[in-house]
Symmetry: C2
Subunit: 240 residues, 2 copies
DNA sequence: GATAGTTTTTAACATTAGTTAAGAATCAGT
DNA sequence: ACTGATTCTTAACTAATGTTAAAAACTATC
């Protein structure tokens, strides 16, 4: 359980190396852990959270609801990701966050956030950096939705999720865990679940991915990367 | 010319009221003005800019190039917007920025940025806030691309651009200036220019917008808003 | 190992948006 | 006012993705 925070530390370390002290501070400011069931909202659009949340395990999504009732996922959150650092400045959530699997989050409340921001400038920068990487990912998703066919788009998503999982320390060799079903993929990719299914079948048939329950193996990353027109620069984690 | 910076100050004022001193500091840190021709790159993906840029007049776009040569616009920048505050943390640009009209930018170089960040915490927060609003806009664009039909999508864009122009102080009553052609709209909306044209004709025919050269009049904003399924919360500027 | 719930798969058909290419209208510079 | 360049518009045709609904394959639980 002590290791829970390490996914987050791994991720921030892609930006800057954290001192033993800084890592200790990060672990120390977590006030409590909360467990959520799949489907629970961690945070609702319009709310004004006073604390920030770090995902220990499980996946979550940022999503918005359209008037026709359809829900659109604008980001996936994996272990180590922080949910809402931006509320230090934006006051109100402009989207909701939901647990997409059973999930545990660490809660760092407002006072502790302020403490980090004032006393640990290097940590503060790392937190802002992680927000900006989220922004960069959103921009790449825009290109993905606007300019790539369904097949290339989904292949691109798998490349991203594999690398993000890898940086967090969640992969074993060429395999990562993708605990979301095809409906959730379709809600993020702007496709129907039927079409998402057609596309994933083709990716499997062409051995670009090998799926075994929730484990996705990428037998040849560079082949998938080429097919997907994927360039990892936007993750700002030192990939070409 | 002294008033050039006011669009930016207007925008930041939607977040926090700036003191006379702070406004003076912002104006004072601008080292030089640069004029760009339409089509000029202000900043290239992969570069490591040391200064930040504020748009005085004219419009720009953030864009990425796909291997097939197609260019995708991921954000429009209007007078008062800052191009690249995030390079204080992200080092490399993950996208390019281009002047889409003749354009003047103010340049604030690195030293001055550091000075603001250290000595004017309120200003520093305002700059970070503007980045986070950009991120929020990117998320809304994701929903727009993934979940709305071409007609509603473009209507939504016009709502956004009208309100952003209004906050910057660029509108006169119900009219704003949209200096980009239909090709540029299509590059942002993930549509072909032919289809963009079809859609804009329908919006004009239904009097949701009235176009006169580069002036776009919105005779009944609430009607356009309803058609567009637009909710301005994501702009974080106090709209419902 | 039977049952209910969830997720994936299939199929037939409908619709939106893309493609290509050409013509009309508008604009900028002389 | 004339010319060339740009932008907008139209048309006929194509392709990608959406829609609906039902069946099959899993998964978890008793």
């Amino acid at each position: 359980m002590i290791l829970m925070f390490d996914y987050c530390i791994n991720r921030l370390s892609a930006y800057t190396s954290l001192s033993i002290e800084e890592k200790g501070v990060l672990r120390g400011v977590v006030d409590k852990k909360i467990k959520h069931c799949r489907g629970d909202n961690i945070m609702l659009a319009g709310s004004e959270p006073k604390s920030i949340h770090v995902i220990y395990n499980g996946w979550a999504s940022r999503y918005k609801v359209l008037p026709n009732g359809r829900e659109h996922i604008v980001a996936y959150l994996i272990p180590g990701d922080m949910c809402d650092v931006h509320v230090t400045l934006l006051k109100r959530m402009d989207h909701s966050i939901r647990a997409e699997t059973p999930l545990t989050v660490g809660v760092i409340d407002g006072g502790h956030v302020d403490y980090i921001m004032h006393c640990y400038p290097n940590l503060a920068k790392a937190l802002f950096w992680s927000m900006l990487v989220d922004e960069s990912i959103a921009r790449e998703w825009l290109v993905n939705l606007a300019g790539r066919s369904a097949e290339v788009r989904i292949a691109n998503l798998f490349c991203e999720l594999f690398l993000r999982s890898k940086v967090a320390g969640l992969t074993s060799s060429d395999t990562f865990v993708m605990p979301l079903n095809q409906v959730k993929i379709s809600e993020a990719m702007g496709l129907t679940s039927v079409h998402t299914n057609r596309v994933i079948q083709r990716l499997k048939r062409d051995k670009l991915i090998v799926v075994n329950k929730q484990n996705i193996q990428i037998p040849d990353f560079s082949r998938l990367q080429a097919f997907a027109d994927f360039n990892g620069d936007y993750l700002h984690m030192g990939f070409s």
